[in-house]
Every structure is written in structure tokens, then in C-alpha cells.
């Protein structure tokens, strides 16, 4: 029974689904397993995957950041405006990252010092950052970024000897670091503690506010970095870049079994969730499945990801109760 329950964890299910999608795609769809296709499909998830890392940490700690896609847009708009003004690209990047960290700091400050719920705060800053992006770049689109950097961001150039595009490789490195931090350090354990019972965590001596602040800064920082990647990958800096992306990120993280109430889930699950949505979308597109059906499939998966752990919990609880009454 316990062994059974152990393997029925939702993140394992998502991992199995991911493998199933991959095998089904390889078996049925010509071109799916081509390295060029996999490079393109993986790279298409680059920004989502990058932002999913700090988002996982936030959700585990019982928080959420809805302003990430707006920060991506602000970073993109800023990069565009500065590039047009003749700034060196190597100077634009650190400045954008700084703005991202500051945006995250504002989120974190409002949550920890003013004491507002993160959902409300980041709904506000979602609009604020997008508005700032429009102020910075207006309705313009800036293009003609240096070829060398764009090449780096698109899937045409990959890490030598592999089919992994650079943004995906970078994501891989950051994912390993995040996984170690979340699952092997005191800091990671304190995130679960905060997510499970914030007050208890505080009484246990965990510096709840400080940690939450760090998480929001991290999220803003990574989102602005994703903004640079997005800008280079599409070769177009725009204030409306990445609209709605925050929902895809959160959906992927939840699909990966991170509990929205906090305190539960693994980074591996979240990453499997991101890849599952990305590869499934690619597979369905290759098979000419219409966009509406794709949206429905993703929606059903999400509902399943929220429902299944609840059902499993209820079933095992009932079994335990029955076992308890039988032995009594």
C-alpha cells in the first residue's frame, strides 16, 4: 500500500506522461524525433522553463508571482529602447537585470513589509510593469539586434556536439542549481516549511520575510533575463512581448505537481510539467491538431493535475480509516 502510494505521486505520473508523449511522437510522427525539431520545440519553451524555476520556489513557499510576464515585457521594451538609443548590448543586459531585480524587490517589499497577499500584489504589478513597458517603448517594435547574439538565442546554433540550444542548456544548468538548493539545503527545506505552515516556520526560527523577499527578487531577476532571451530569440523588442506567459508558467508548475497551497512538490515535477506542455504542443501541431483542441488538452491535463492528488489522498485516507476500524 505505502509503496503503491509512493509511486502514485503526481510528479511521477507527469514524468511517465512525458516519456509516453515522447515515445508516441517518435513512433507515430515523422519528423518529431528529428534533432532539429526537438531543438526548436525545446527552445520554444525556453522563457517558460527559465521563469518556472523561481516560480516553483515561490509556489512551494506558498507564494505566487503573476507579474513575471510583464517584467519580461518591460525588460524587452527597455532593451529595445536602449538599443535604439545606441547603447552597447553588453551594457543593456546588466541594466535590464537590475530593473528586474528591483521590480522583484518591490513585489517582495509589498508582500513582506506591507503584508499584502502575493496574488493581489502581483496582479497590481502585472499591470504596472506592462504599463511601464508601454511608456518605455510605446507601440514600436525594435529589431536588428546583433546577429551573434540572436544566433545564440535561436535554435539554429546549439551547444557543440549536441542538439541543445544555448537557452535550453543554460536552463539545464540553472535547473540543477535550483534543484540542489530546493532539495538539498536548509534554505530549500525552509521553503517547504513556510509553504506548509508559515507561522510554525517563523516560530521555528526561519526568517520567513527575508526568504520571501529573496524569492521575489529572484523571480524578477530571472523574468528580466527571460525578457532578453525572448527579445533575441524573436529578434523583436516590444512592450507587448510575452503577454499571458505568466499563466503558462504557473500552469506548467501546477501540472508538475507543485501544490498551489504551498509546501508540496518537486522541481523535477515542475520541469516535467514544462516539457510536457511544450512537447505535447509540438506533437499535436505536427499532427495538424487544431489550436482549440490543443488548448482543451492542456486544460484537461491541468484539471487532472489538480484533481488526481486529491483523489489519491481521499482514497488512501479512506483505506487507512477502514484498516484502523478493522484492527480496532
Amino acid at each position: 500500500m505505502t509503496a503503491f502510494a509512493k509511486y502514485l505521486r503526481w510528479d511521477t505520473v507527469v514524468g511517465v506522461l512525458l516519456v509516453a508523449v515522447f515515445l508516441a511522437g517518435t513512433g507515430t510522427t515523422e519528423g518529431f524525433a528529428d534533432t532539429a525539431n526537438l531543438s526548436a520545440a525545446l527552445n520554444d519553451t525556453a522563457e517558460i522553463a527559465l521563469i518556472a524555476l523561481p516560480m516553483t520556489l515561490l509556489v512551494v513557499a506558498g507564494q505566487v508571482d503573476l507579474s513575471v510576464a510583464s517584467m519580461l515585457g518591460l525588460s524587452s521594451a527597455l532593451a529595445g529602447a536602449l538599443w535604439e538609443a545606441g547603447w552597447a548590448f553588453e551594457m543593456i543586459v546588466p541594466l535590464c537585470l537590475l530593473v528586474g531585480a528591483l521590480g522583484g524587490l518591490l513585489n517582495g517589499w509589498l508582500v513582506t513589509r506591507v503584508g499584502l497577499p502575493s496574488l493581489a500584489v502581483t496582479i497590481g504589478t502585472l499591470t504596472l510593469y506592462r504599463g511601464l513597458a508601454s511608456v518605455v517603448l510605446g507601440d514600436k517594435a525594435v529589431a536588428d539586434f546583433p546577429e551573434a547574439y540572436s544566433q545564440w538565442a535561436t535554435y539554429t546554433e546549439t551547444v557543440p556536439g549536441t542538439f541543445i540550444p544555448y537557452p535550453v542548456a543554460l536552463f539545464g544548468v540553472l535547473a540543477v542549481i535550483t534543484a540542489v538548493v530546493l532539495h538539498c539545503t536548509a534554505f530549500g527545506r525552509s521553503l517547504y516549511a513556510i509553504g506548509a505552515q508559515e507561522d510554525a516556520a517563523w516560530f521555528a526560527g526561519i526568517r520567513v520575510k527575508r526568504i520571501k523577499l529573496v524569492l521575489f527578487v529572484l523571480a524578477g531577476f530571472v523574468a528580466s533575463f527571460a525578457g532578453i532571451v525572448y527579445t533575441l530569440r524573436y529578434g523583436s523588442a516590444r512592450a507587448d512581448n510575452g503577454i499571458g506567459l505568466e499563466l503558462v508558467v504557473i500552469a506548467s508548475v501546477l501540472l508538475g505537481g507543485i501544490d498551489f497551497d504551498g509546501g508540496r512538490g518537486t522541481l523535477g515535477g515542475a520541469i516535467a510539467g514544462v516539457l510536457l506542455i511544450g512537447l505535447l504542443g509540438n506533437l499535436l501541431t505536427l499532427n495538424d491538431v487544431s489550436n482549440e483542441i490543443q488548448v482543451i488538452v492542456t486544460g484537461l491535463l491541468l484539471v487532472a493535475s489538480v484533481l488526481t492528488p486529491r483523489i489519491v489522498a481521499t482514497v488512501s485516507e479512506r483505506r487507512q480509516r477502514r484498516a484502523a476500524t478493522a484492527s480496532a
Partner: protein, 362 residues
Amino acid sequence: MSAYSRTRRRATLTATAAACALAVTLAGCSGTTKSDAANETKEKAANATADPDAPLKKNLKIAFLPKQINNPYFTILDGSGIDTVKELGSTAKEVGSSDAKASSQVSYINTLVQQRQDAILIAANDPNSVCGSLKQALAQDIKVVTYDSDTAPECRDAFINQASSEEIGRSQIQNIAEQLGHKGEIAVLSATQNATNQNTWIEFMKDELKKPEYKDMKLVKVAYGDDDDQKSFQETQGLLKAYPNLKGIISPTTVGIAAASRYISGSSYKGKVVINGLGTPNQMREYVKDGTVEQFALWDPKKLGRLGAYVAAALASGQITGAEGEKFTAGDLGEYTIGKDGEIILGPPTVFDKNNIDDFDF
């Protein structure tokens, strides 16, 4: 706990110091600026030669990638294009996302390349975002044709323009000026902020307004309805509230003009504010009949789709390469000559009013 936080504080300090050092180092270098990048522009390889007598190939695979699917305008356009491709003995399909975002078009282009299509017809949501992927397609000898909304010329073989942009832009102002007696405030309700074609038309509208005969007319605002019915409806409402002296709205987009007409027909502005722009007869029929709208214009999207099919097939068959001056015949549409930068112009737009609207069904 305190030891832990001390370590962390030290770590934070180190990270900050490292970041500062990095910034300073980078500031020291001259770096890559826009002027450097400008020198990198690449030319499209012109390695193919056209053979005007080559027969149209059969069994070609052709894909239409509109700005968004389920947009009535593109449904008609692509439907007609797909039918034409079938008449020519090849197969065609329409793919795309239900949102008009550039980023969603990119993943579709990538999969079309993977599916080894012979030609891709695309209405670009952003002229640059799709460029990288289209270049990948071109590199694999997939013919790329833009229609309705263009990309940078080096990212496609040909561009089918529904009408000359200048002609559309200027005629929009001329038409509404005539209705208003060359007097009063006007506004534009456009699609998305980055729609290439809309923005070009708006530039020509502004230029036309500089002429002395329009001295009593003023363009007070360009609003964006994102080709979303609800948003366009709300933007219309907003325009009329914000500018009480508004006399006319030009909406050069089928979604926008229908939403604006719907709002005005049910409001007190009916008969007082003139709506003009580009719309489809089927969507606009009731507003023309109930007197909300006197006239509007559009090219025939069926013809545009048909021309698209012929251009794609002619390119894939080697009849044309997209170079200026090449000629080809598009079935019953007649002969076309490719203009500068691979541009092919369908023809002048048609003006619809209550006298002729029932002659059209699209």
C-alpha cells in the same frame, strides 16, 4: 541560525561585488551597438533562375498561416486559397493559433518546416519575430510568401499586397472627408499596435491629412482593438467618451469596424458619428441596412487567397523566383508582374454601400 545568516550575508556581498565588477568591466569595453549590427545585414541568395514556361507542379504541399485562425476574414481568404490549390492538383491546409501573437506563429513555422511543406503563405503578426524561422524554411528550399502583412524582404520570396498601401491609406481619408464635408475630429480604430499593414496605412492617412483641404479635420487618436471584438467594442466606447466632438471613426480592420458599428448602432451616436474603414460585406450588411454605416471598402479576400495559391504554386514550380519584373498568370485573375522587393499587388479596393452590398457574399 545566526551562523547561517552570516554565511548568507557574505554570499550576498560576494554576489553583489561580482555583479558590480562585471558591470564595470563591461562598461569598459566598447561593446556591440546598433551601428555595429547594421553592417551585418545579409543578402538573400539569388541562386535560382525563373523558367516562365515551367508547368505548374502537382501534389505540392502548401500551408496557410494566417494572423489568427477563426478570424472571419482569414477563414474566407485561406478557404479560397485552399480550394484554388486543390484545383491546381495539390494539397493545402490552414494552421495557426487563435491569438494574434507573433510568438505563436514561430512554433507553427518550425513545425511546417519539419513537415517538409513545399510552400508557406504567412500573414505576419510582427515583421521581425517570424524572420528567423522563415529563414530556416528558405534555407530548406521551402518557398515563403507573405500575404496581407509583410515581413522584412529577406525573409520571404514574395509579398502579395491586397492593394497599394498608399492607395488604401489615402482613400480612407478621402472617403470619410467626403462624408464629413471635410470638417471635424476623427479617430482611427486599428488592430494590434505592431500590425505592419495597419501602421503603413495610418502613416499614409496622416500624410494625406497634411494637405490643405483637410485643414478643418483633425486626427485625435489612434486606438487599438487588437483585432478582438470585445476590446474593439470597448475602445469605440472609450473614444466616443473621451472625444465628445468626434465626428468620424476609421477602422481599417474587419474586426474593428464591425465592433465599432455594433456599438454605434445601439447607442445615441447612431447617425451622428460616421464609421468608415475596411470590412466584409457579410459582417457589415446589417449596419449598412439600418443606416449606421453608409459605406466602407475592402478588396475581395477570395481573390487574394486565390492569387496566394497561384503565387505559391508558381514559386514552387520554378515559374518565378520573386525577382522584380517576372511575369506569371494567375488563372482567371489574369497576368501579374512582380514589383520591387518581390511585391505583387492584387488591385484597387472595392467600395461597398447599400446599392452594391447584396452582390457580394463573403
